[in-house]
Amino acid sequence: MTKLRVLLFETPEDPYYNLAFEEAFLLARHLGYVEDDTLRIWRNSNAVVIGYFQFAEEEVRIDAVNRLNVKVVRRFTGGGAVYHDLGNINYAIVVRGMRKKGTIIDNLYKYLLGGAVKGIKELGVNARIENINDIVSANRKISGCAAKYLKDTLFLHGSLLVNTDLSKLASVLKISKKKLADKDISSVKYRVTTLNNLLGKNLKYGDIIEALVKGYSSLLNAEPYFDLPSKEEIELANRLYNKYISVEWNYKRAPSSRFTNLIKDFLK
């Protein structure tokens, strides 16, 4: 049976390192420093994470962010801005090779996102994928995701609202008028809710970890084992940290290519 490596490595007080590690563990698997497909589960304590094509000034209420001491960090995948507190749990999966017939996009979203859906169902919530990359239950969005591929390495990460402070979420993110005005039923911007709201009880972090590990091991038909970051993952993250703390990256939408020199000796 194939194996699924599980990492619970996180630095909630330092979202810049969390995002640097996110790229590092994708690269480590892609470059062959890590043998097994890997699931990472992690959290930030108080951060806004914006998409690769977004400008912080367009997505974030800077006055609220400063007042509430929220750190703003940009990720390396497309999609929209999300607010992270400890009530929001992030999952990230990296696998080598296509798993299903169909396009790479089908493999990324329809297939890989299915692991998170299975996990959420384990918790007793009837969830489904809607609108390409949303996970929805009772017509409310509970999870969004973004993906990337590097040749045959597929990567998907998402955030799962378990007990997030939704009013804080609404106060730090700008919502575009164009999105609010959108009446097209196929592109409904779902209202969001949390798993705790849906279930009427307080889930523990351990419950979510167990559910996501079950969901992804079942999807990939793999035996899970918990592991620590490898020395290459840590070294890559340490170097990439310089990218994720930079103003150029977080506020000026610099392309990743501007930072490849940080890790060039790993790319040989």
């Binding site: 094509f53 390396f76 995948t77 497309g78 993906a147 164009k178 196929s186």
Partner: protein, 95 residues
């Protein structure tokens, strides 16, 4: 020198364009938003390809089609990018 901004919600993802036009030539341009495309860095190629181009919609369409030839757009299409760009250019021309 005119500046134009336009945003458009595609099926999935908001596409924003900020453009600066002078003598019917694109001087500066940036795309932003929560759209999804692979490989991601093609968006900078597109911006570079559009700089210096005249603001003729069909020519701009051709440039976008060329640059996006091997790109996978998720939840949006080339027409969405052409539309938002043509609108932003129109705003800039009237600025």
């Amino acid at each position: 020198m005119g500046k134009g901004f336009f945003e458009y919600k595609a099926k999935k993802g908001l596409i924003r364009v900020n453009v600066t036009v002078s003598n019917k030539i694109i001087k500066d341009i940036r795309f932003s938003g929560d759209f999804m495309l692979h490989p991601e860095d093609v968006i900078w190629e597109l911006e570079n390809a559009l700089k210096g181009k005249t603001i003729d919609v069909e020519k701009l369409r051709k440039t976008i089609e060329e640059v996006f030839q091997d790109v996978v757009l998720v939840g949006s299409c080339v027409d969405d990018f052409v539309y938002v760009l043509s609108k932003a250019v129109e705003v800039a021309s009237n600025d």
